[in-house]
């Protein structure tokens, strides 16, 4: 290891142990005092889970769901923003042109043919939710995710939609965000700073 000190790195020294600390007895006594104080304080902190389910705060980040639009179709437009943002690389989408001849899909251009999230690989950071321009993906308060196989916990589009069907009516997880028709773009673009153009592009003539 190098011992060279740079200006930006602050080097700390281990504190020196004096004769008082070297006896250890004061520290042991201090620890005992804390334990005894807690033992007789009269407050119980053991959770009676699963008999009593904990209160989950509304901003808890649990299992994902894919929201439906007013017509019951998957709201996701397959823009891949979540897949791009995801630091754990656990979202995989395959997009397709919407079935234009189906009157039900006439006003849509692009939709996710498949949409899978590996719930085991996910770190529940919520970046996908943050990135989605149409509020289609959300993290719910479902925290007790279990399964018998790993494969079971790779959620596909149907499973993610069924999480929406279950959670959106249960009351705990209303569809939280609902920004304007243009999404967050209109607000955020106004505050965006200028930057260099993205690299690796062909010439524009």
């Amino acid at each position: 290891m190098t011992t060279k000190k740079s200006k930006t790195v602050k080097w700390g020294e281990e504190p020196k142990i004096g004769w008082w600390e070297a006896m250890y007895l004061p520290a042991i006594a201090g620890g005992l005092a804390t334990a005894i104080k807690h033992a007789f304080s009269g407050r119980t902190t053991t959770r009676q889970y699963p008999d009593v389910e904990p209160e989950i705060p509304p901003n808890y980040r649990g299992v994902h769901r894919l929201n439906r639009d007013e017509e019951g179709r998957v709201k996701c437009v397959a823009c891949y923003m979540c897949q791009t943002a995801c630091p754990a690389n656990c979202i995989e989408i395959i997009a397709a042109p919407a079935p234009k001849d189906d009157p039900h899909w006439k006003d849509r251009d692009k939709f996710p043919q498949t949409f899978t999230i590996d719930e085991l690989r996910c770190i529940y950071c919520g970046m996908c939710e943050e990135a989605c321009p149409v509020d289609a993906i959300e993290l719910t308060s479902v925290y007790d995710l279990t399964g018998y196989t790993r494969k079971e916990l790779i959620f596909d589009k149907e499973k993610l939609l069924s999480v929406f069907d279950e959670t959106s009516t249960a009351g705990k997880d209303p569809v939280r965000t609902n920004r304007g028709a243009l999404g967050p773009a209109s607000v955020e673009a106004a505050t965006a700073s200028q930057g260099p153009p993205p690299p690796g592009r062909g010439s524009h003539g």
């Binding site: 823009c79 791009t84 397709a96 251009d109 321009p133 153009p197 993205p198 524009h204 003539g205």
Partner: protein, 569 residues
């Protein structure tokens, strides 16, 4: 040369430049939509408005009272361009606000997002707040605009680049502007879709996501594509291209500007003709006949009759090249004159050199011949006249050549160097005196014609290095599974003698290998295949190819001189 001052930076510009080009030389970007280097100037989008002034003889600078479109304003010595004044910035913001007035802003589903000039310019020069209170105009998408192109009418910024392209470059004039004012739309006449052989270029020209390629539509977001500089192998024009890939899959080819090669564009045949790279029927591993496999002692490892092929971890190339090498030496020892190697015009200069120099080092009497040169129809020249006739020779802007291979000239130069005389495979087959054949294929379509098939017959040794199965590979003693242009580095010499470097973008499918790697190992050369190093070697060895001795050919390539050389062997 003209001295121009752009935002207080002084540069030497070409007297023929407009303000955009002059500013580019100073490293200043003037945003623009309708102007394109290869098209006529219409100055209709007003994105490029700048302040322009001139230096008077006494040294004072007088700025013009109004903003002028930079694309249409020529420069002269002493021209002063300002792109960063408040006046210019306000104009840019207003132009963008107008362009976005009826724009759907559906970047989330737009294929152009990530390489969209409306996004970029709005981000860099725009104001982003719209003052429009009315609902936006909505127009129908037109999927019928062309077989390969779809028009998302809402996203169009009416730059008319696409219209001018079909009028000035392809000369077919299918696209036009219909209606007026804010109801203007790009359209085609009923039943005359934009299906000319250069139509795909309008997708690249479109600065926004209005014209999209149906082939690429919704396949991949562009920010995941990694691009390699390559050369189209569709014909001997040798268009410079970008190969855009992700996770070993090529998604699209795009033309790369190269004034020495083709200019700005490429043809649809080349653009969409890369699909064979991912064909299921590609040869995926080398093959030895059973007899040879027993010889090599690999039979016990690779032949598992009980259907456990998937669990067979034996290296498929194990010993294959050793057997090949031994067989070649054996055949040459028996009859060196009867050993014929066929070098295909799809090989790169490096590969042809590796194979030729190796075989000639074994015995100078070995014959090297040029593989079949596929020719289809005649040269197709653009822009077409109103009746579809070819343009006058001095008006040609793009040519699709009838010679459907990238490197006939390069391989020919190698052959002339080693062989002196050029013999084609057809002539060699007609002579019917060969006892052993080494065929190199790599063609994008089937190439084994009847005369070749019959003429080769059943020689004592038949080696085929190819990407697809053919009648020859079916009965070959040794099949070496090789690579397409997208999987290998190399140099191609186009019809004018321009040597361009192509870089591999993806890996070979299965256990197939890049030709260069096969040949390096076959020739028992030290080290890995490296096109740059080989170019230096070739440049030194072959006078006609001396220009490629620089190694790095740059983005545009270098001209070589195709000359007849004295016979060296």
């Amino acid at each position: 040369m003209a001295k121009v001052i752009v935002n207080d930076i002084e540069v030497d510009a070409d007297a023929k430049d407009n303000c955009i080009l002059a500013a580019r030389k100073a490293g200043v970007e003037i945003p623009h939509y309708c102007w394109h280097e290869a098209l006529s100037v219409v100055a209709s989008c007003r994105m490029c408005l700048v302040e322009v002034g001139e230096t008077k003889p006494d040294g004072t600078v007088v700025m013009g009272p109004k903003l002028v479109p930079g694309c249409q304003t020529p420069i002269k010595d002493g021209t002063v361009i300002r792109t960063n004044s408040d006046k210019v910035k306000t104009a840019q913001q207003m132009t963008l606000e107008l362009l976005l007035l009826n724009h759907p802003l559906d970047c989330s589903i737009c294929d152009q997002a990530g390489e969209c000039y409306l996004q970029d310019y709005t981000y860099k020069y725009g104001n982003a707040a719209s003052r429009l209170d009315e609902p936006k105009l909505q127009r129908m998408d037109k999927y019928h605009i062309g077989e390969q192109i779809a028009l998302f009418t809402d996203r169009c910024v009416m730059c008319t680049r696409c219209v001018r392209f079909t009028r000035e470059i392809s000369g077919t004039a299918e696209l036009q502007v219909t209606n007026r004012g804010s109801h203007e739309e790009i359209d085609v006449f009923p039943d005359t879709p934009c299906d000319n052989k250069l139509a795909g270029n309008v997708v690249d020209l479109c600065p926004v996501g209005a014209l999209c390629s149906k082939d690429f539509l919704y396949k991949k977001r562009v920010w995941w594509l990694k691009s390699a500089n390559s050369v189209c192998t569709g014909c001997s024009t040798g268009c410079s291209i970008h190969v855009d890939q992700n996770e070993d899959k090529v998604y699209r080819l795009r033309p790369r500007d190269n004034p020495l090669a083709q200019g700005h564009f490429m043809c649809d045949e080349g653009r969409f003709g890369f699909k064979y790279i991912h064909d299921e029927r590609r040869l995926r591993k080398p093959k030895l006949t059973d007899a040879l496999a027993v010889d090599a002692g690999t039979a016990s490892k690779s032949a598992k009759p009980n259907g456990t092929a998937d669990l067979n971890f034996a290296e498929p190339w194990l010993d294959v090249l050793t057997v090949t090498r031994n067989k070649i030496k054996e055949a040459i020892k028996t009859d060196a004159r009867g050993f014929v190697a066929v070098l295909s015009p799809f090989m790169s200069v490096e590969e042809a050199y590796l194979l030729a120099s190796y075989l000639k080092s074994l015995d100078k009497k070995v014959r090297l011949v040029l593989g079949r040169v596929p020719v289809v129809g005649s040269d197709d020249k653009y822009p077409k006249g109103s009746k579809g006739e070819a343009p006058a020779p001095d008006k040609i802007k793009f040519t699709i050549r009838s010679e459907k291979c990238p490197n006939r000239l390069g391989v020919e130069m190698i052959l002339r160097h080693f062989e002196g005389d050029l013999v084609t495979v057809e002539q060699a087959v007609a002579r019917a005196d060969a006892t052993a054949w080494y065929f190199v294929g790599g063609y994008n379509v089937g190439w084994v014609t009847d005369p070749i098939d019959r003429g080769v017959g059943k020689p004592s040794l038949l080696i085929v290095q190819d990407i697809f199965a053919s009648p020859l590979s079916e009965r070959a003693d040794i099949v070496l599974a090789s690579s397409t242009f997208a999987e290998r580095d190399g140099t191609y010499v186009n019809h004018t003698g321009l040597a361009q470097a192509a870089c591999g973008a993806v890996r070979c499918p299965g256990d197939a290998r890049a030709d260069g790697r096969i040949l390096m190992e076959l020739a028992e050369r030290k080290g890995l295949y490296n096109a740059m190093t080989l170019r230096k070697e070739i440049g030194k060895a072959i006078p006609g190819l001396a220009a490629i001795a620089v190694g790095d050919l740059g983005e545009h390539g270098v001209k070589v001189t195709p000359v007849r050389e004295p016979i060296l062997f």
